[in-house]
Symmetry: C4
Subunit: 256 residues, 4 copies
């Protein structure tokens, strides 16, 4: 078995742009692209299966079973120049060689549909509490400039962009596909819809579409409650540890 | 070398159903399918060898050596509509890609023999002390319904089914083979014949055959004795640990 | 690159038997086969290279560099029926799939030279201080019987024979080559010439040749001195640890 | 995807010698070859990409993204007999099989350009504070002799040369390419320009070229300051640890 992409709809798309967001740091890419699929009511286009995905199947609410997969949706942009192909999914490839194979399959599929530009979405680890910035890197200078105009910040040198979100940029060159990567700042421990929202704010300008991002706020609120709770637990644990250390020190002092 | 299946008997089977149970959690699948082979006096059909199995050979009582393998047996169902192909073996594939390759080989072999339905058997980890339930998931809704009528409980959403038992369901779709997975609840630490018996109770109804499951009771008794002994040991260890902690605390109290 | 065997001599051998001893437990196989090569003054036949061997090269005394390899030597048996092919080397394959590929290459090479019987040599871990027994397992009952007559003990059931020494037996069946494995009992921590000597004692009877095994005694003496020294060190470490534990316990007793 | 080398210049070189220095111990090879590229103003020849490199892309100061790669430069030697091909890069292959595949690709590329001699450069771990020696090993005795005349020391027996720097020597034989490895002694914890300088001092004699190595001294100074600082930190940590142990011992003495 090789990585393969199976089309479930035969469509002809107008100058499509591919937007990729697979699971990764803070699930930023996946949350963002799933939000696009839902909000734009994008339709199913194709599925990607790979022997480099984990070797289990998922069960849904009805007891129905399916392989892990990547999912392509398409959206016809009635008002703009570029239709969209949206790629998200359950997993990234689990081995080095698998990562390259999956990225190449995606690029071949994109090429076949006439894609000339790819936007990839992911997370960028920071420990800050500030509003998450959107970091951008690209294989094309003009694209990069547009992203900066749309509110993104150019990535510092030396940052690696890991996984499919990065390889699509690197390998895209061999297929003459320009690509740009938008990374939402995130602590990355938990799914981070706030970072995804920042990315979407930039992305909609780049794509020239108008999204209602309000629906993400409920998700953000939920996520922040979880984070707040986890911090409380952490704080208590720290207090306890400090107390224990103090006791230990006093004991040493006492003895010596 | 690729994964390969070598037939040792040339037979024409009547609408065969494949039942798979390879080693896994609590050895539930393997115990169940081996029991079927023995009770039904199924005959040898084929062997599966793979370079993804561990790289050692096994020695039997007579000093005879053989590769790890999967074994297919067949059983002619004189009274019912479906003959059976029973698959069990020594091991599962050891790498991600190997898991996919082995599952695909099994499906090709099944297709060749006209298999339209596969039942896979495995374990499902729970910590309960109650009678083990049988959890079911399927790629086909009608099959699922039948399993529920036979006493199984529909799996909760999000449970992964790992290994061959899962991949046969996921990859089966590409070959138009419907598949259903029966997972016996088990703590999973040790071979669990009780969980295997629960699964067989459901399976015999699904297959429309009548098995004497009594012979498993001796195995169950043995297994339960081992578990009881292990718990005693664990309990003593805990008591000891608690005592040590207490001593340690008193010492701290005393000093500070 | 694939695993490949390059011949360095073109010879026609008389009913050759292949004797394999690659690095493994206690280096038993390697010591035994190297001893055969040296004592019989066997000549170079071929080299095996593989991309599954570790990715480094070895430097010899003169600063000369070479890849890790397996080495085949041949020996013309003027008095007996079977010439010998002797295989030893630097390493075993490092991955599961590599192990199968290397074993298959060896078998193809053997087949090409008309080999009908293979003897593999390795170590078998035991903690005993007694004279090392030689454990035997085989894919052919008659061979096994001969080995027992030559002084070997039939392996208990369930012992895995790991690596090339095992796979040649398991995979040999597909090429209709009978094979037998001789495992010298060893603690396995260090190169164990004593275990190798036991194996050679059995092997020479099986091969119907007469070896002077005395030259191994110096190696054995050296190895035993090292073991004795290591035990002393271990003993001292244990004594020290016991003393520390006692101090710790007294301290607890004192306080509580 | 396979490892592939893409030429960016079409040139005909005069008896070229390939000098390889990829990342490794103390970054000795990479520092040395990058220095050659810069000092000789070598020009870009080709790029090597591989699915065995880590699966991320690098971002430069301008936010531009690229795959990890190996880079070939060429230098026309107006005064001497041999032009140079210089190979350095971002990474080595990450798997065993990948290491062999990458080394083979390099050798094929070298062969195509008429390369008959390869020099590889790396680090050799020692704990000494003395001026770093240059250790040499080779697949060709005459080359080795020349390196010794140029100031290198023949490697002791048993030293493995790991990675591309080693495999090019071992695999070079199959392509009839002689190769020599120069290893600069280094503690290996940090990039070590001093070791690189020692190697370059030998290398320039071997190549019959005259390099100004002075520009490396600033790098060396910087590196030594970092090492000095790290040692201070280590020393303080040790002092602290010793103090803690003493306190602990006194406490024990006091109690018992």
């Amino acid at each position: 078995m090789k990585t393969k992409i199976t089309e479930v709809a035969k469509v002809k798309l107008k100058n499509p742009i591919l937007v990729e967001g697979l699971p990764g740091l803070g699930m930023v890419g996946r949350i963002a692209v799933r939000y696009l699929v839902k909000t734009l009511k994008a339709e199913r286009l194709a599925q990607l299966h790979s022997p480099h995905f984990p070797y289990y199947v998922l069960v849904n609410k009805k007891g129905n079973v399916r392989l892990l997969h990547g999912e392509f949706h398409y959206w016809r942009n009635e008002k703009g120049e570029n239709d969209l192909i949206l790629l998200t999914g359950d997993s990234q490839a689990q081995t080095i060689e698998g990562q390259y194979e999956v990225a190449e399959s995606i690029l071949e599929f994109a090429k076949k549909h006439g894609v000339k530009t790819i936007f990839t979405v992911g997370g960028f680890r920071v420990e800050t509490e500030e509003a998450p910035k959107v970091v951008v890197a690209s294989s094309n200078h003009d694209l990069l400039k547009k992203a900066v105009e749309a509110g993104a910040v150019v990535s510092g040198a030396g940052n690696p962009v890991v996984g499919t979100a990065g390889l699509l940029l690197g390998l895209g060159r061999f297929k003459k596909i320009d690509a740009l990567c938008l990374l939402g700042e995130t602590r990355g421990y938990l799914p981070d819809p706030k970072a995804a929202k920042s990315v979407l704010a930039v992305l909609q300008k780049l794509l020239g579409i108008d999204l209602d991002l309000g629906a993400l706020d409920k998700e953000i609120e939920k996520a922040e409650k979880i984070v707040a709770k986890m911090r409380q637990i952490e704080k208590r644990r720290e207090l306890h540890a400090r107390k224990m250390r103090k006791m230990e020190e006093e004991k040493v002092t006492y003895i010596s």
